[in-house]
Amino acid sequence: MFDALVIGASAGGMKALKTVLSGLPRDFPLAVAIVQHMASHSDSYMAEYLAACCPLPVKEADDKEDFRKGAVYLAPAGYHLLIEPDRILSLSVDPPVNFSCPSIDVLFDSAAGVYGSRLIGVVLTGASADGSAGLKRIKERGGTAIVQDPAGAEVSFMPQSAITAAAPEHIAALDDIAPLLLKLCRQAL
């Protein structure tokens, strides 16, 4: 049984996120948090872009708002996104981690501590090593790890790095990730 899904993406991530999110059904049962690397001065365009293609509500995270099932929360530009033990969202302006703010490792780390085995982590396309340590931590805490197949990724470095660091249970082509998530949710019931 899973409660939450965390996704990290960097270069090429907009398109990859669109593919994954558009494949999730309206009744998707997990709370979803996403870190997409971006310039620290970006506006909220990404949330609007993804909301238009995802059947679930998509928004930029506000500090201390509930991390609700069936909704998608994006880390705002220039803020780390973290999950608190009482399952609310929290932001920080701490220094960059892996040269990134928001950082995928920061989100994954905090989510792993809160959700343990009830968490799925996904690393998508990118040119960064961010997400590798976080995905490893998710696995150590009993969660499930999925990495986009580097062979088909727009930029293979980040998924390859995550595979090396975390030895994920699932390596999947981009188009297969949403169906895999649904399968995992169904199996776990």
Partner: protein, 281 residues
């Protein structure tokens, strides 16, 4: 619900309680996730594996505690961070403040001072700085010293200048600092209207009769209980009709004082105090 094992929680509680009772700093209502990242970092710095060992070190080693204190408020900011906020202050708030003969502004949690000088520059350009007193406070003496010095890495000024222009700056940012070696020193006339002082939002009280309170990206480090305390403090410190400015992802919604405020610019998280102060609190 998956919780950290009880022993871990107890260790953290003991550590925070020890810090509070030994040094008077209470971090127990800080946001857990960020707090844990910082404590884990300090635990690594101390080269120990347990929080109780970290407590031992912190308790007996004041120099190490100073390091911890410094680390507890390391954040990243820029001058004119969120340029649209400063544009809103310039266009929406300053004209209203100008109806007063003299204005008091409180920057709570001023950190290393970038936002203080951004505000001072803006007020100077609006020919209003002479009628303003800015109270800059922080709980961290290192941050406060840095704010008072007003010396920043020259390399940060490129981004700061871009923000300044995007915020509607009327001159050049370089008009406001002198550069030497790889440092930029803020001109003294911008500091003359600023009073720097120690204030801890966790434990200290009201700062009276303010026309405006700025507290941006500080509340994100607090849990809802402590946010509510700080927001009550701000409400009690503001005059009727005064302005409260929060960070772009912070909200009043969870607080008991929400009903005292109306949004002036909801997107920039600028609120106007329209309700009455609570009595006998």
């Amino acid at each position: 619900m998956t919780q950290p094992p009880d022993k871990d929680r107890l260790e953290i509680e003991l550590l925070l309680d020890g810090i509070r009772r030994r040094y008077g700093y209470d971090f127990s209502n800080y946001s857990h996730a960020s707090l844990m990242r910082r404590l884990d970092y300090m635990r690594d710095q101390a080269k120990v594996t347990r929080y109780t060992e970290l407590l031992d070190r912190v308790f007996h080693d004041e120099v190490f505690f100073d390091k911890l204190l410094k680390h507890m408020s390391i954040t990243v900011t820029e001058m004119f961070r969120d340029p649209l906020f400063y544009q809103a202050v310039r266009e929406q708030i300053v004209p209203l403040l100008k109806t007063f003969p003299f204005v008091k502004i409180w920057h709570a949690g001023c950190a290393t001072g970038e936002e203080i000088y951004s505000m001072a520059i803006l007020l100077h350009e609006e020919k209003f700085l002479d009628r303003v007193r800015i109270y800059a406070t922080d709980f961290n003496k290192y941050a406060l010293d840095a704010a008072q010095n007003g010396v920043y890495a020259l390399e940060t000024m490129k981004q700061n200048a871009a923000n300044y222009k995007a915020a509607g700056g009327k001159n050049e940012l370089s008009d406001y600092y002198s550069a030497g070696y790889d440092l930029a020193k803020i001109h003294d006339f911008l500091k003359e209207k600023v009073t720097f002082s120690y204030h801890n939002l966790v434990t200290d009280g009201v700062f009276g009769e303010m026309n405006m309170v700025c507290c941006r990206n500080v509340l994100i480090y607090f849990d809802k209980t402590l946010q509510d305390r700080a927001l009550n403090l701000f409400a009690d410190s503001l005059r009727h009709g005064g302005f409260l400015c929060l960070g772009s992802k912070e909200s009043l919604g969870f607080s008991s004082v929400a009903k005292l405020f109306e949004p002036l610019d909801a997107k920039q998280r600028i609120f106007k105090k329209t309700g009455e102060n609570r009595k006998n609190v």
